[in-house]
């Protein structure tokens, strides 16, 4: 039986109805993710802020841009749960609306950085030679410029708007991902199982997608969640310089930047956006950790 070519006709009939073969494998990644407590907490945090950002227009909160000169820099009270800012705008309302800008700035800019950085890193690491030379030299040139300076220069070049700020932050964060990916690819490429893939006769795209990519993913995921934090703060800095979210539209970063002038008189102005950034960043980090563990079949 073993020497015969395996056409369905030669297979034993019971094999066709074997319950083991018919069973659909359960989704292992989701199952593991669910049992990962801190990852679920991270997911909950991020989910909460996403819901907040999405439902900002229908929440029963005042207009985030409405000023009230009778209630300037008021401490948290029943009327303004989180207090008011220096021109009497409701901090809670601005926090909820600001979640949109900050989350977008964090996620989209990191998305841009990963979308450009990882493929370039894979190309450089896997093919080496001239490809690697060109990509690596460009990366090093970009890395020589401090992250924020580069983002500011790019944002200034593209013109002030939230979209351009996100593009600028994304491009500035790209070199880090190129470097990280390239290094990982070079180490994974030397593994026996990649040689095994060549021996099987797999095509290069399949080797890259099945063998290289899944094995370089964990460090990239962790780096991405950390960079989301950096990106939210970078957006704040750009907003402060007038290159990010345009006033009077709120973002956590611009709220923080105004609040720093009133730290002693109105600490709540800085506290709430600070806590919000902290929680979102924590949420993304826990989520990234959990995702990394869930994607690794060796972890239990």
């Amino acid at each position: 039986m073993m020497a015969q070519p395996a056409t369905p006709a030669t297979l034993k009939p019971q094999l066709m109805t074997d319950p083991v073969l018919q069973k659909r494998p359960e989704n292992r990644v989701w199952k593991k993710f669910r049992s990962h407590r801190s990852a679920m907490l991270g997911g909950l945090l991020v989910g909460l802020f996403v819901l907040m950002a999405v439902f900002a227009p229908i929440l029963p909160i005042p207009d985030p841009t409405a000023t009230d000169w009778g209630a300037v820099r008021q401490a948290p009270s029943a009327a303004h749960w989180l207090g008011t800012d220096e021109i009497g705008r409701d901090v809670l309302s601005r926090l909820v609306w600001g979640a949109q800008a900050s989350l977008l700035a964090g996620v989209i800019s990191v998305g841009i950085a990963v979308a450009f950085g990882v493929p370039m890193g894979i190309l450089a690491g896997y093919f080496g030679g001239w490809t690697d030379g060109i990509i690596s030299r460009c990366t090093e040139a970009l890395l020589a410029v401090p992250f924020l300076i580069l983002a500011i220069a790019l944002a200034a070049f593209l013109g002030p708007s939230l979209t351009n700020a996100m593009i600028a932050i994304g491009l500035s964060a790209t070199p880090v991902f190129v470097r990280l990916t390239r290094g990982q690819v070079i180490s994974v490429k030397a593994e026996d199982f990649v040689e095994g893939a060549h021996a099987i006769g797999l095509s290069t795209p399949k080797i890259l997608s099945r063998y290289i990519f899944p094995n370089i993913l964990p460090p990239v995921l962790v780096q991405a969640t950390l960079t989301i934090a950096t990106a939210i703060i970078a957006e704040a800095s750009l907003s402060f310089l007038g290159l990010g979210q345009q006033p009077p539209a709120p973002s956590w970063g611009s709220m923080l930047n105004t609040a720093k002038n009133f730290l002693s008189q109105a600490p709540w102005m800085a506290m709430w956006p600070g806590i919000a950034i902290f929680l979102v960043v924590l949420g993304f980090n826990l989520l990234g950790d959990g995702l990394r563990d869930a994607l690794d079949p060796r972890e239990h």
């Binding site: 020497a3 369905p8 073969l21 079949p297 060796r298």
Partner: protein, 371 residues
Amino acid sequence: MTDLILKADGLKKHFQVGGGFMAETKTVRAVDGVSIEVRRGETFAIVGESGCGKSTLARLLMRLLEPTEGAIEFDGRDIAGIRGRDLRELRRDMQFVFQDPFSSLNPRMSVGKLVGEPIETHRPELSRTQRRQEVARLLRTVGLRPEHADRYPHEFSGGQRQRIGIARALASNPRLVIGDEPVSALDVSVQAQVVNLLHDLKSKLDMTLVIIAHDLAVIRHMSDRVAVMYLGQVVESGPTDEIFAAPRHPYTLALLSAIPEPVHGRERTRIALSGETPSPASPPSGCRFHTRCPFAREDCATRVPELRVAANETRVACHYWEEIAATRPKAGLTPAAARSEGAQRRFALYEAATLRQTDRPETASNAGATT
């Protein structure tokens, strides 16, 4: 001559190491002019100590490395320079079993995907269900259970992983399987099982096996012909029985006399080699073995020995093997005979055990899981 499936002629692989700014580039002659002929249906062994270039040779034959020089023929077709579609077709007919079962399987793919991958690549006409059934059949063939397909490599023992590796190699119905020390990373008890599995599969599936090894017991047990390598060159080749019974090259003599003696106090002739293996980056002149050869003469350092026919099919690359053989008439016989006694008992036991296990695959996998 007889029907050849694989033939290498003057195969060379030189690696450039070092180099860079102000540094001298060295050439490592990992494989330096190897010619071998593998016949259809036989088990051909390549033996030698660490660093003699046998793994490089295996990768050259498999076309995982580009030869620096020389020709490789598979089934009468030159494969030294092929690429693209031709190379992919070659991968179907020629498969590889790796030394280390812990690093040669992608940790992020399930066993089903690992074994199904060659089927997907080389027999794309099969549907997903057919492929899954074929994977189940292959897993049974190597003594694993079909339900193992949903598990991941880290959940298996070394012996089981090597079975997965073998199933993966068999999936494309190859005609030739090259094993690069397929059992040397395994426990001794599991080694015999895997060796016997390869042996059984070879005859059942009508394949040719090329086994790279440094374990002489394994080679003696399973191979029909053997080539002994030293520093990137073949020093002796011929039928296994003949070489084990009457080794001619001094290096083979030393190699065989290094096999541990299972019986205490038995008289034996032992040839201890002195010194380290010279670096393949600067191999000795003349006969490469002359620096360590107990029988070396002056002109060994200047004259390069060619492989020449010694007896029947045995070839030896030594100027003075006739004289050495005359002075040491019994050399090699004692250790070989002593070995076979113990080894045969050991292998007979395992063979019996494996036979029982292949009849009932459930017990085979359970036995493997305990290791």
